[in-house]
Structures are given as structure tokens and as C-alpha cells.
Symmetry: C2
């Protein structure tokens, strides 16, 4: 296996472990054993856990960009694209009920750790917010596009948080329907609806 | 200082540290040094961090019950009481922007750790949900009281999560206004509004 492949394997394993267990609790040894690497080979790629975190955030940013670009390419109307975002909650419900939202829980953990990478992790939210705002603007809501983007992002975070605590898939479905109804009721150039 | 006072001091310090730093990252030594206790004196009260966690959850449940009872006693109308809940976001905005919601972030961390106390911590959410559902029922929405309770709890979680990542007090205020408008627009015996 090439050095680049090994590095990618490490980052993929760290991505999964940081999400499923948390960043702080995941040790170098956990990651090394997940990819079956010796300490020496591991250290050749990464010297510190913070370096791995940086690579994990970069990976998530790249994957998110790719996903949003794909939705932009395939979604006929801006509302379809926003619905693609809303439906992440259904698509990923099993993982969300077990581990929460990967973005929200990482940002929250890094905030508590007052970790140097916390602003970098928040760029994941900014990526979603800016993409959503672009869709709301294309929908004819230029004036309050960013507020609407933050509102729907807020609802997806809230659903993920309670889904983890209550393990209730029917709650997720009900709230996803509510988000779609809210979107449906939005009309160009009205004020923000609650 | 009496043994009971010392115990209370330990639990108060752990409560604060678990909230501000996270549960996993907080060590016995952190808590002992926060209350200026020797290891020996500390171990007299608590043998494991899980025991302290149990005491912290019990403390939070008791404090939450007391707060909800006080709102119930002073709030004239059910809608006033629900507004008291919504306004936690404003009242605690500085801490929320720094550390998130104490309930949501603890439940999320314990879920990732697959910690034995995760169901116990979820009782904090259940306490809020049941209290809110009681207010919505008193408001004349018996049929969907629990769904409405989950909806407003979801929104408060979503606001807390994004407030931590974006440090934007004006976003909190806007969403709190939106929650109050949503409540205002609710009428007895209508279906759940999105």
C-alpha cells in the first residue's frame, strides 16, 4: 500500500472514531489499531492527534462540498435542494440516533476543550449555511436568505440532538415533515416565518 | 466543614467542570483541586467518576424540577410558563455560546461513550418534555401536547448548538422571537404548526 493510501486509511479511521466515540476519548493507539499499523508507521504520517484532527476536518469539508455540489447539480429547483439537506436526517437517522450530528457534536466538544481547531470545525457549519443561503436567495428570498439558512440548520441540529437522547425515529420523521411544510409555506419576498 | 458540605462542594465543582470541559476530559484530580481536597478526603466521598456523574445528574434533575416548579407557581398562563422555558436561551446565552446546552451536550457525550448513565441523563430531557407537554395540554392542546413539547425542546437544542459554533447573540434573539411568535400563533385544538 502506498504512503498516500495509508495516510488516507488513518484519516478515515480517525473520522469514524472521532464521530462514534468523540475526539478526546480517541487515542493514537485506538486509531493505529483500527488501521493495523505499528506506532512507527503511524508516526511517519502524523505526529500529534491535533494534526489528525486537522486532516479529519479537511476531509469532512471536502466531502460536504462534494455532496452539496452534487445536490446543486441534480436538484431541479432550489426547494428540491433544500429538501435534500432536510432529508439527511432521515438518511442518516440510525447513526444520528447513536452518535448525533457529526458537525454539531464535534463543534460542541471542541468548544468545551477550547481547542485551537474549533473555528476550523465551525467552517463545516458555515459551508452548510452559505450553501443553504444561496438556495434561499435563488428561491426569491435574497433579503433574509441567511436567516432562513440559519433557521433550517438550527432545526436540523435540534432534531439530531433530541434523536440521540430519545432514539425515536418517528420524532425525526414528524420534524422532517414539519421542516418540509415550513419550506412549502415560504413564499418569495415574505418575512421570515416562524 | 461537615462531610455533607464537602460532598456538596465536590458535586457542584464536578457539575461545573463536566459542563465547561466535558465529562470524559475532567479527571478526579481536576475536581479535587477545584475544591482543594486531598485525594484521601476525596475518595472518602466518591470512589469512581461514574459515582460523581450519578450525583451530578441527580443534582441537575433536582435543580431543574425546582426551576420548573417555580415557573409553574409564578406563571399566570400556560403560555407564560412556556415563554419562561424559551427565555432560558437569552438568560444563559453567555454560557451557551461558550459551552452549549448542559443537557444536550452531556447526553451527546454519554451517547458516544455508550456510558451506562446515558439513560439517566436523558431523564433531564424527559423532565422538560413532560413539563412542557403539561403546559401545552393546559393551553388546550391535549391531543398533540407531547409533539409540541418535543418541537419547542428541539428548537431550543438547535439554537444552543448553533450559538456555540457561531457565537452570535443576535441569532439567539431572532430565534427566541421566532419561538415566541410560533407559540403566539398556536391556538387550542389546531393541528401541529410547522
Amino acid at each position: 500500500m502506498s504512503a498516500a493510501d495509508t495516510r488516507q486509511q488513518i484519516v478515515d479511521a480517525a473520522d469514524r472514531l472521532f464521530y462514534e466515540q468523540g475526539f478526546e476519548v480517541t487515542s493514537f493507539a485506538d486509531i493505529a489499531s483500527a488501521v493495523n499499523l505499528s506506532r512507527g508507521n503511524f508516526y511517519y504520517h502524523f505526529k500529534t492527534k491535533d494534526e489528525i484532527l486537522g486532516a479529519v476536518i479537511a476531509l469532512r469539508l471536502a466531502n460536504t462540498r462534494q455532496m452539496l455540489d452534487a445536490w446543486e447539480a441534480e436538484g431541479r429547483e432550489p426547494a428540491d435542494r433544500i429538501r435534500s439537506f432536510i432529508h439527511i436526517l432521515i438518511m442518516n437517522r440510525v447513526k444520528i440516533m447513536a452518535y448525533g450530528c457529526p458537525v454539531g457534536t464535534l463543534c460542541s466538544e471542541l468548544a468545551k476543550l477550547d481547542h485551537i481547531a474549533k473555528e476550523e470545525a465551525a467552517k463545516l457549519f458555515i459551508l452548510f449555511r452559505d450553501w443553504l443561503a444561496r438556495q434561499f436567495a435563488a428561491f426569491g428570498r435574497e433579503k433574509d436568505a441567511e436567516a432562513l439558512a440559519m433557521h433550517i440548520l438550527m432545526r436540523s441540529q435540534g432534531v439530531a440532538s433530541l434523536a440521540t437522547a430519545f432514539h425515536d425515529a418517528s420524532f425525526i420523521r414528524r420534524e422532517v415533515d414539519g421542516m418540509c411544510d415550513w419550506l412549502e409555506a415560504l413564499r418569495p419576498d415574505e418575512t421570515v416565518q416562524s
